[in-house]
């Protein structure tokens, strides 16, 4: 961010639970709620809330697909979500590099 020596962090992405979900989805093509629940270690309620917020922000896509005769909601990162995460990584790298050893 211009005018700031230390760049500002995207607070929405930086939130611990949301960041965790985003990072998991960045590593995968798609995953359902149960997989994310087990892997992220978040509570069912928290994960549900965070996925809803990420979906509303356009960072995550929730697609209902018919898999083996069952309707399954598969979550995946959108292009905007990936961009936000890349931007966040770059900001954090700048910030971390500024911390003296």
């Amino acid at each position: 961010v211009s005018g700031h020596i230390v760049p500002e962090i995207d607070a929405f992405v930086h939130e611990s639970a949301r960041l965790r979900v985003l990072v998991f989805l960045a590593m995968l093509n798609a995953a359902d709620f149960m997989y994310l629940l087990r892997q992220t270690g978040l509570s069912r309620g928290n994960l549900s809330v965070q996925l809803g917020r990420l979906e509303s922000a356009g960072l995550v896509d929730a697609a209902k697909r018919q898999v083996d005769g069952r309707l399954r909601t598969a979550y995946s990162l959108t292009a905007a979500g990936l961009d936000a995460l890349i931007e966040y990584k770059s900001t954090m790298q700048t910030i971390l590099a500024a911390i003296p050893d």
Partner: protein
């Protein structure tokens, strides 16, 4: 060697034991085929085992572990590894067939060597599975199969024995892993419900 988080996720995908259980049963069945000189058994058992793995994964694992689709780069890499494996497997199968036919009636030591080849082939498949799934327990299975294959050469027991032994161990290991997976899933569900 430190692995990337994605690599660890991929490894965790195979830790339910279903693959071990199905592969172990398949190896025992192949051993039975050799015992009764039914050489077509591997050709029947292999697609059956793949189908069984797919069904068991859908029925037992996915409802508990969830559904995941790995990134296209990972899937592409796995596809190439599977293709390479099939090519190597077919090449080795042709080699075994040539040896078996060419050495028919030769001295007993060479016949014993040929008798150990099915176990060596399955060991190779286990080694490939170790690489494909990033699960090093499959290397242990390979080592066991090679050892029992060597024992076959030394004792002259025929091709069925090392396959029975190796298959039973793989099957047992898979059963234990599956029991642990189901128990952990129950713990997780109980914790999540509270």
């Amino acid at each position: 060697m430190s692995r990337s988080p994605e690599s660890r996720l991929f490894q965790a995908y195979w830790e339910d034991g279903v693959l071990d259980l199905v592969a172990g049963c398949a190896v025992v069945l192949i051993g039975t085929g050799y015992l009764f000189e039914q050489m077509l058994v591997p050709a029947i058992v292999t697609p059956l085992a793949l189908t069984a793995w797919f069904i068991l994964r859908k029925q037992i694992v996915e409802p508990r572990a969830g559904y995941v689709q790995f990134a296209s780069r990972r899937r592409q890499r796995s596809r190439w590894e599977v293709r390479g494996t099939v090519a190597v497997g077919l090449g080795l199968f042709a080699l075994v067939l040539t040896l078996a036919l060419g050495l028919r009636g030769e001295i007993s030591t060479i016949r014993d060597l040929v008798a150990a080849l099915p176990a060596f082939l399955v060991a190779l498949a286990a080694l490939v599975a170790a690489g494909l799934t990033r699960s090093w327990r499959f290397s242990t299975y390979a080592l066991l199969l090679v050892s029992s294959g060597v024992a076959t050469i030394l004792v002259g027991t025929g091709p069925a024995m090392p396959l029975f032994l190796g298959g039973a161990v793989i099957c047992g290991s898979g059963t234990m892993l599956l029991i642990r997976f189901v128990a952990r899933s129950k713990d997780f569900a109980d914790r999540d419900a509270t």
